[in-house]
């Protein structure tokens, strides 16, 4: 009734190949974009700064992992470190070129993390599956060590942490640094995430994305059919770590404000992996669902439990939240192993025939 594609005829190739071929989808995405744009006017500073901004950034990181694991089928446990590579690259760029717009630098810093990603992706040509996952742990721990032991990366400052400098752009707007408002940071993050997501969407449904999926589904068969594994796997690593790097740079510049090596530890890698899997591997919309779920659930528990009268210490709430997240992950894997994106698809399928499910 509300969501039905019958009667929408496509008369040109352009409309047939559109990202959202169904009119209801276009209306839906327009509503979501409008809501995202007016969020700063209705949401509080807290919601904006500690929920919406990190959610969008982590969603981008999850998309990065999803390109690698969901589309190209290469399991990675090193996303946190690739995000760190992007963040440190961006920090160096921002201090070396203080006059260039920070948004340009953030998009550029992904290139460096992409290089690192290609380097650590090389073993994937020979190693597969869980074995590859362990070799990505090598990247994780080696890069973390680099962030501590190479003082050049953090400009030799005594604390060993990177502090985000204040940068202006787009007129005289303060984009980063302690005095940047949450609203400004939110809009910048939103713009970058939307544009990059659009690019990735076109990548994965184009020639290169199809090659990734062939490699994922059966690499030997893909090779026999003319896909070059070297090119396909390394490009997946490059795109994935580019996205992770951009997400990492934004994570520091627009959310954390300052970062130390432990910000990009193995727990961040796991967190992003959870987001990708719970959201649904091989689905971009799922990345957003997964990021929202994993990021917001612990915060909701922390804020919600005292609100409903369960008044215990902050530490116990943290522990309960962790138990709940663990249990919910297992529950979700049992209930729907293909993730929230699959639930979304089922919902749309149901809506398509509603209110006559047997017609």
């Amino acid at each position: 009734m509300f969501y039905r594609e019958s009667g929408q005829y496509k008369t040109t190739y352009e409309s047939d190949q559109a990202i959202f071929p169904i009119r209801e989808d276009r209306i839906g995405i327009a509503i979501i974009m409008a809501m995202a744009l007016i969020t700063p006017f209705i949401a509080s500073e807290f919601i904006l700064a500690s929920i919406m901004i990190p959610f969008l950034i982590l969603a981008l990181g999850t998309i990065g992992l999803n390109v690698l694991t969901g589309y190209a089928g290469q399991l990675s446990l090193g996303t946190g470190a690739f995000m760190g590579a992007g963040a440190y690259a961006c920090y160096k760029l921002a201090t070396i070129f203080p006059d260039i717009n920070i948004v340009v630098l953030i998009l550029l810093s992904g290139v460096f993390s992409a290089g690192v990603g290609i380097l650590f992706g090389l073993p994937s040509l020979r190693i597969k599956g869980l074995y590859l996952a362990v070799t990505t742990l090598a990247a994780q721990f080696f890069l973390e060590w680099c962030f501590i032991r190479i003082p050049w990366l953090y400009n030799y400052n005594a604390s060993g942490a990177i502090e985000v400098p204040e940068r202006r752009g787009f007129g005289d707007l303060i984009l980063t640094g302690p005095s940047a408002t949450a609203t400004t940071r939110y809009y910048v993050v939103l713009a970058i995430v939307v544009v990059v997501t659009l690019v990735v969407k076109n990548l994965v449904r184009g020639r290169i994305g199809r090659q990734w999926m062939m490699i994922r589904d059966m690499d030997i068969a893909a090779e026999l059919m003319g896909v070059r594994p070297l090119w396909a796997k390394l490009s997946a690593f490059a795109v994935s770590s580019y996205l992770a790097g951009v997400a990492g740079a934004m994570f520091v510049f627009f959310y954390l404000g300052a970062a130390e090596p432990s910000s990009f530890g193995i727990s961040l890698s796991f967190q992003v992996l959870f987001m990708a899997i719970l959201g649904g591997l091989g689905s971009l919309v799922g990345s957003f669902f997964g990021a929202a779920f994993i990021w917001i659930l612990p915060i909701a528990l922390r804020v919600g439990l005292p609100a409903v009268g369960v008044d215990v210490g902050a530490e116990i709430i943290f522990q309960i939240a962790q138990m709940a997240v663990g249990a919910l992950i297992i529950f979700f894997l049992i209930a729907e192993p293909h993730g929230l994106a699959r639930l979304w698809a089922i919902g749309k399928e149901k809506l398509r025939v509603w209110p006559f499910p047997y017609a």
């Binding site: 190693i127 742990l137 090598a138 501590i148 030997i220 530490e315 663990g326 992950i329 297992i330 894997l333």
Partner: protein, 319 residues
């Protein structure tokens, strides 16, 4: 030239110069390797029987140790605490099989891996909730484990110090491997385990209960975890930091191959000794602290030449 000298000549000169120190480092590496091997053993047990890559083995070690120490703190005598801790691991095995593994049967590897990471989260929260997050002292003496140390003189005035607890750890690890070997090869259940490892469906068709076997392997892995927890706790403390160290078992597994018990032992020793030697003799060249990633790099390099690990079964791929 200087760099080459520092990399290829200097470390060996140091080794020959101070043989007692070299032996001490070797011994430390050996003991660390034994502990890695013990964790890897738990991984291998579960992977062999169910194809599940059990990420939670590390936290199971912490959890088992915490249960033991926590119960003792509440006033339970040491021997009873030990029995109760074993019982808790049994209950955990039952719960994991019933609530996690059974509903997820036949799912792809990555889903099973994720479920064990979920289990890790749960156990971390649960362990902190019940026993508190601060590090605890292992009850070494109460359990009747040796605590002193022996010094052996080497050469002129060299001294090699062996902690008794380390010797005990090595001995217990040896006993456990021997015990597991006998269990796998000589008993009825052991044969059933090997059958399940070979082929789930064939095992089912000759009347082996998969569910029962899974409870048994998770329980066995739990006992291995408890032993590891005691040994590791006696060397440092029982704390959640162990969880990260337990990740070192992954390169060990890679070296040894996921399904081989001797592989886990040999891999553990190679990693343990390799990273200690690397840290002491080559670490200073790049600023130290390389212990955190050297194990993974060693494994990575090994894998490039032998993708199935040292003792793993050969991977044959067909379209």
């Amino acid at each position: 030239m200087d760099t080459l000298y520092a990399v290829f000549v200097d470390p060996f000169a140091q080794m020959i110069d101070m043989p007692d120190f070299f032996l001490q480092v070797l011994w430390e590496g050996f003991v660390a390797g034994v502990l890695y091997a013990l964790i890897a053993l738990g991984f291998v047990l579960i992977f062999k029987a169910s194809g599940v890559f059990n990420f939670a083995q590390g936290i199971m070690v912490v959890f088992a140790g915490l249960t033991l120490v926590g119960l003792h703190e509440k006033g339970v005598p040491a021997w009873l605490a030990l029995i109760l801790a074993i019982a808790v691991m049994g209950v955990l095995a039952l719960a994991v099989e019933r609530l996690v593994m059974r509903p997820l049967v036949n799912q792809p590897d990555i889903i099973l891996l994720m479920s064990t990471i979920g289990l890790t989260y749960f156990l971390v929260g649960f362990g902190e909730f019940v026993f508190g997050g601060e590090p605890k002292q292992m009850i070494t003496r109460e359990l009747g484990l040796p605590t002193g140390s022996t010094a052996i003189e080497i050469g002129e005035n060299g001294l090699l110090i062996l902690q008794h607890i380390d010797i005990a750890a090595a001995a217990i690890a040896l006993l456990m491997v021997a015990g597991l070997g006998i269990f796998f090869n000589k008993t009825r259940i052991g044969r059933a385990l090997r059958a399940v490892a070979d082929d789930h469906q064939a095992a089912l068709s000759v009347g082996i209960s998969l569910n029962q076997i899974w409870v048994i392997v998770w329980f066995a892995a739990g006992i291995v975890a408890l032993a590891t927890g005691i040994m590791w706790g006696a060397r440092s403390d029982v704390s959640f930091a162990l969880e990260i160290i337990a990740l070192k078992a992954l390169p060990v597994l890679i070296l040894g191959g996921f399904t081989s018990i001797p592989g886990a032992i040999v891999g553990g020793l190679i990693i343990g000794i390799g990273e200690k030697l690397g840290e002491i003799y080559w670490g200073p060249l790049v600023g130290g602290g390389i212990e955190s990633w050297l194990a993974y790099m060693i494994a990575l390099i090994f894998l490039l030449f032998r993708p199935q690990g040292l003792f793993g079964e050969r991977i044959i791929e067909r379209v």
